[in-house]
Symmetry: C2
Subunit: 348 residues, 2 copies
């Protein structure tokens, strides 16, 4: 794989032209999808703004894609025209490294191919995402979406959903356990729904009493206001698992203290440098702090099936394509319950 930043710089310097936005033809292993809905993820905004320095323009964001199959290649066996399908954060990986062989393509040692913004041999040079009428994806990276799920509500499952489902499953959350979900946004609201459906006692951990109320409506059993020192003391050592969805760097130490011995806090929201990290609470209880990234294809399919079985979708606000800039502004103020989803019929 060549250097993405260098490639992006080259792309950014080149003039835009029609060639950049052509869709690739349907190869033997490809599934062609008419996109019905696409969720709006915070990372879309980062990519639009080139916050990470890897964006190449023209850039078509979107990796929470729900659509219908319109054509399949000769070798495609598991999908046919008319199937309702999903596409998540990546559309290919090396398929041969230790991670890919363990169905953990999200940790592909050679780097997975992002649904948008990754270098490709296709026309345009980079993958284009779901803010679009259609997409062509290799059959091995297409998900089957249960028919009972609402299309718009299912879209965020492909990123926000699997991001929260995967750690809850990996750390074996189950009935009889107490699980804390820290932060209530796109990720947190899915964390509550999943942990609740897995049978755990779910505690919403938030700075905001208002969000506490909302969390209960979503399935939380209790609320812990994290600014309340006495509440923190009361809940110390009570949690079997903590799912930390706070999207910015913060002081994690008060949360670690909430864990039972031998338990884990998993960070899925904040990617950055935390300024303080106390080890006594880890050592005196064999506690762990972990991170987790989306999920592999196999687990994403399992998550979608779980959602079908438990009738779980994301709470969404459906918008027209032309409202995207306003949606970005509102998203930055956390003014959405809990995910914007673009109705692609509105894209002309």
């Amino acid at each position: 794989m060549t250097d993405v930043k260098a490639y992006a710089a080259q792309k950014q310097a080149a003039p835009l032209n029609d060639f950049d936005i052509k869709r690739r033809t349907v190869g033997p292993d490809d599934v062609q999808i008419d996109i019905a809905y696409c969720g709006v993820c915070h990372s879309d905004l980062h990519m639009v703004n080139n916050d990470w320095g890897i964006s190449a323009y023209p850039l078509v964001p979107g990796h929470e894609i729900i659509g219908d199959v319109t054509a399949v290649g000769a070798k495609v066996k598991n999908f046919k025209k008319g199937d309702r399908v999903g596409v998540g954060c990546f559309v290919d990986s090396c398929r041969s490294c230790e991670a890919c062989e363990a169905d953990l393509e999200q940790y592909c040692l050679n780097g997975f191919k992002m649904t948008y913004g990754s270098e490709t041999d296709d026309p345009g040079g980079f993958t284009f995402g779901g803010y679009s009428k259609g997409i062509v994806v290799d059959q091995n990276y297409v998900l089957r979406v249960p028919e009972n799920l609402d299309g718009a509500g299912a879209a965020p499952l492909l990123c926000a959903g699997i991001t929260t489902y995967s750690p809850l499953k990996h750390w074996k959350v189950q009935a009889g356990q107490t699980v804390g979900v820290i932060g209530l946004g796109g990720l947190g609201h899915m964390g509550i729904k999943f942990a609740h459906a897995m049978g755990a006692r779910v505690v919403m951990i938030t700075t905001s009493p208002e969000k506490g109320k909302d969390a209960k409506a979503l399935g939380a059993d209790d609320v812990l206001i994290s600014k309340d020192e006495s509440a923190l003391a009361q809940w110390a050592g009570k949690f079997d698992f903590l799912l930390n969805t706070i999207p910015v760097v913060h002081d994690i130490n008060p949360y670690i203290n909430l864990l039972k011995f031998d338990s884990t806090m998993c960070i899925v929201g904040a990617i950055g440098e935390f300024e303080s990290f106390q080890t006594p609470q880890l050592v005196f209880g064999r506690r762990t702090v972990a991170g987790s990234l989306i999920g592999g294809i196999k687990e994403t399919q399992e998550m979608l099936d779980f959602c079908g079985e438990h009738n779980i979708t994301s709470d969404v606000e459906v918008i027209a394509m032309k409202a995207i800039n306003d949606a970005y502004k509102r998203m930055q103020k956390s003014d959405v319950k809990y995910r914007f989803v673009i109705d692609l019929k509105t894209l002309s």
Copy 2:
């Protein structure tokens, strides 16, 4: 349990007298031990200096105890006069909490009773440790020491040994894996021996080429000099497990980058506040940072049996009791390979 700090303050204010150092009589569940050797742990010095504000004087340090049984109580079944036994960091726990019931007394939710410096109903008010001719300990907290092990070399197994053995076992270190031991001292040298005996490829991670050489003599297969940026890059993503024995706070981020996806760095040395903690490496590889404290009685016995089977002891420098103050000074300069052990015959 009353407040230890308050109790300690009260003790410190009280005049010393003979009563303070009487040994308790042998109760029905007790084992009386003549102490042959006692290892010198860095925490002894902290307690002697009241660095943690919980020391009560007179204080008798020492929690790496090897000795011989001289008497047993009426209910003692598994030990008899003449047995070679060991006593580690604690001599009692609540026996009924979730941790104790899981054979993890080191995480006892009600606080274990330290071998020295813990409040007790016995004469003296506090437990007294192994820098002594003898000790009386409840049979459930006494360990059996394999006869083939050298007594002095076995003493540090009771703290430095179990502190490193327990995380290696908990995170399932095994043949075919690559394990990094960070830091070479009392803990690190035991980590190398155990990981090697468990069949792993062991890499000594150190700032010092000299220590690298020493590590190879102890069983390390390779050496990674952690100041060498290109060596760090070469080893990135190569480790199945990292045992971090550095005794002071430090920058952990370069080490996390050495881990494979889905693997763990366990901190056993540094108890304090780290100034920086990068989460991207955790998230983009489901890596974890953990802590671990000594081990439970059952696992400590398993460790001693493992040592008997593999002929593992600590590399020690045996000293006379009167040399303890000099040993403390040298220990602070890391001038010992790798643990001082007091020969209690020298205590008159």
